[in-house]
Symmetry: C2
Subunit: 226 residues, 2 copies
């Protein structure tokens, strides 16, 4: 009842995740259990379970008796994720528009006004998911998809030249929410994300490999941390 009673598995889980987003273990890189165990000063058991958990979240892929590897996200993966986001976030904002109280709505608008200065864009999506009242949708968006987004953006810079448009589109969504027009809000959100998807698809036809793969080059020794 005092502390959150964190277990080693949780600590290692967060630690490995930090290694991923920081790029210390690159996308597609090998995840070595013993190296991680040494690094975090624990045995291999907690590391194995943490890797298993990350595998469950799709951040690490593994086959029996093969090395575990960080998921290798390319543009096509991102397109798939954005297609999924388009549908789910549409439902998310639709539900939020219906169930949010007037007070929560005002608070949301105020928060968004305040956070306008810094460049945080994803926060609105997170807030809407939290207000949707659907824990499963919230978990899917916040605990799974946004992790992958952060992972991808950590490698290849965020989609360029869209922040200005995105901000305007965010305002439109908020207006529809305040007017309690759930269907309009859903439609706007879907269009909003669909635009990002199209940007990715343009990226796909323009340059099939936006990040030159330094990873496919087979087995180099010790391509991870020391």
């Amino acid at each position: 009842m005092t502390g959150p009673q964190r277990t080693l598995v949780d600590t290692v889980f967060d630690g490995i995740f930090q290694l991923l987003v920081s790029g210390e273990i690159p996308l597609g890189g090998v995840v070595n259990e013993v190296a991680l165990a040494e690094r975090f000063k624990v045995s291999r058991g907690p590391v194995r379970e943490a890797v298993k958990a990350l595998q469950g979240r799709g951040l690490i892929v593994k086959e029996p008796y093969f090395k575990a590897r960080v998921v290798d996200l390319d543009v096509e993966d991102m397109i798939e994720i954005f297609q999924l986001r388009e549908s789910v976030e549409g439902m998310s904002v639709k539900l939020a528009t219906k169930v949010m109280s007037d007070e929560a709505m005002d608070a949301l608008l105020q928060d968004f006004e305040m956070a306008r200065g810094n460049g945080r864009v994803l926060d609105l999506h997170v807030r809407i998911a939290e207000e949707s009242g659907n824990r499963r949708i919230q978990s899917l968006l916040c605990d799974e998809l946004y992790y992958l987004l952060r992972l991808y953006r950590a490698r290849s810079g965020s989609t360029p030249g869209r922040h200005d448009n995105a901000s305007a589109e965010h305002w439109q969504i908020l207006r529809a929410m305040r007017l309690r027009d759930a269907d309009l809000a859903e439609s706007l959100m879907r269009t909003h994300i669909s635009r990002a998807t199209e940007a990715l698809q343009r990226l796909l036809v323009t340059d099939p490999s936006p990040v030159p793969p330094s990873r496919r080059d087979g087995r180099r020794r010790k391509e991870e941390e020391s």
Copy 2:
């Protein structure tokens, strides 16, 4: 190349899952590591990892140093899942309608004709997800949500009196797909699932606890219950 090279964790994973769907471990029941280890004739290590994997899929919930428990799905959980399904399966059928080849479309219609005899309803949803071309949507639907559906239906019988309607709605969806009307197919699918959601909501206001805690326990071991 020859054998699938299954590991003990996979075996135990499937074994525990069978215990869940068979109801031998009831929803909300405790999951004892040592008892499972004895039952499957393995050590606690593989059991722990399998439980961790099931936890990652949302079938088992656990807090540090507390007993692990099977997720206790109630009607509200199902409503949340169906809201998520409505959005995702709408996108799923929309994508499938766009990307499926004519041959695949014909095969789908034929398969559906053939499977018309037996009462399998979910198969169409699975097939559509497989044909969507979006692996992440397919994984979400087939590997996560449908597991939970099966778990819920194993306890409380499938939503009654809807199979006849469902079949007609399935045919409408298939017709829209064959006409390559992606938006219509999406709309029909969303309405289709929305109807099931409304049935659940009626269940909620009619009888808040559709399954009284008469938890049929097919257990003969010392597994306790509070």
